[in-house]
Symmetry: C2
Subunit: 253 residues, 2 copies
């Protein structure tokens, strides 16, 4: 895939962080592109501009909003060499593995169904982590994206202002424990199902399933570094090790 001008344009959401990239959903695609060693460049799009971009590019909405209108989201890739425009992390993964079979596979043949179940199972545990990380996202966003984020995310918590989402008082400790036990604890148990000492969801070999997890770990670390300091010791330091193992796929091109 070595070529002088990047053949894939990858649309991501910027931030005030020095590395810019922060969103777990777009990290999934960034990791995927880097893992496959594909040539790409990033275009940075603030939240309020995503819908116009998608419409301009004829990219489909990923779902409907609660009021029934179409909801457009990133990640989106535009593959200049094929003309393909693909949205949604899992569809991008399937597209890249199919279109670039000579590059490292993100998911081995036959594992897309099991991965879909893995993603559903992990997403069901995500709310425990979201309670802590989501309310801190605005502090890394540019002013242009903050109102959009507040409005859309607050709706996910029954309209509560984001500043009131994280449990307080007596509810804090059990909610925090749940982040460790449910989201990270379950993923840890799946890794261990491969046999003792396994490092990855697919045992010895890193796959997109690990990059998927790493996307949430890096999001957690970037947005809520003060809590990450504690979390990185959980499960024998497995999650910090995952960030180290995936360092070579964290390039921002």
């Amino acid at each position: 895939m070595a070529s002088s001008s990047p053949s894939i344009v990858f649309y991501d959401i910027p931030s005030v962080l020095p590395i810019n990239c922060w969103s777990p959903n777009t990290w999934k695609t960034r990791f995927a592109l880097n893992f496959k060693g594909l040539s790409y460049r990033t275009e940075w799009i603030e939240y309020p501009d995503i819908e116009a971009l998608c419409k301009k590019m004829n990219a489909p909405p990923t779902r409907n909003k609660p009021d029934g209108r179409p909801h457009y989201t990133l990640p989106l890739i535009h593959d200049l060499s094929t003309g393909a425009i693909v949205v949604e992390s899992s569809k991008i993964v399937a597209y890249l593995d199919e279109t670039y079979p000579e590059t490292p596979r993100l998911l081995p043949p036959g594992t897309l169904g099991l991965f879909a179940a893995f993603e559903d199972a992990a997403m069901a545990l995500m709310p425990a982590l979201a309670l802590f990380v989501v309310p801190s996202v605005p502090r890394v966003l540019n002013p242009a994206s903050q109102p959009y984020f507040h409005t859309t995310r607050s709706a996910l918590f029954g309209g509560k202002p984001l500043s009131e989402v994280t449990p307080t008082g007596d509810a804090y400790a059990p909610a925090w424990q749940k982040v460790q036990d449910s989201f990270f604890g379950k993923i840890d148990s799946w890794i261990q199902a491969n046999g003792e000492g396994s490092a990855y969801i697919m045992g010895d070999a890193m796959s997109y399933a690990d990059l998927w997890v790493a996307s949430y770990v890096i999001w957690f670390k970037l947005v809520l570094p003060e809590k990450w300091d504690e979390a990185k010791t959980w499960h024998g330091g497995r999650w910090e090790k995952l960030l180290e193992d995936t360092k070579k796929y964290q390039a921002i091109l």
Copy 2:
């Protein structure tokens, strides 16, 4: 594995059905043994005798009862050729794939972690189906197993008598719809994640993940045939097709 006397003893729970075998959990192991073409024979154990059997064989409990006492369950296999005694479906699968590498693999190398996530995700959807099938299980059990089943299963529904578990009146239709949409619908979506026209959870090749699903489908069909007649048309007849495809692994040896 062809030998004159079976080398594995498989403990299963009998019933009044002509084929005897009915439990989804032991079907998982029966399917696994047949899929691998291993030589085995079945010992039939009524529910109240499981604990004494496990203690006699030094088989560990699979979990604790709500009151903290150890809970012993089937399936259990005793591999006479290695001396191994293994309980719990997933542990039996890992044992068989590891011990008999020359037979067809139940789960390809590296997929045990993804399978564990699949199983967690599917089990989370199981209660929708259990509401309909579990209350009818006693009609296929022998009298010796009925009190045990009533007591232990009623506890799973907050102590309600099993006869009151299935929703009635206005609650019936949405609960039944949920069986189609949540349990079977989700599994259908995972199969389709492999690409249109996929037959199995791992795409073109049958694996233990399909045998796992087939175990619940056959349980449903055996215990509640009057509802199965409707369910077998769901998702393009996928579930009836699965029973046909797995027919050669349904032998009762």
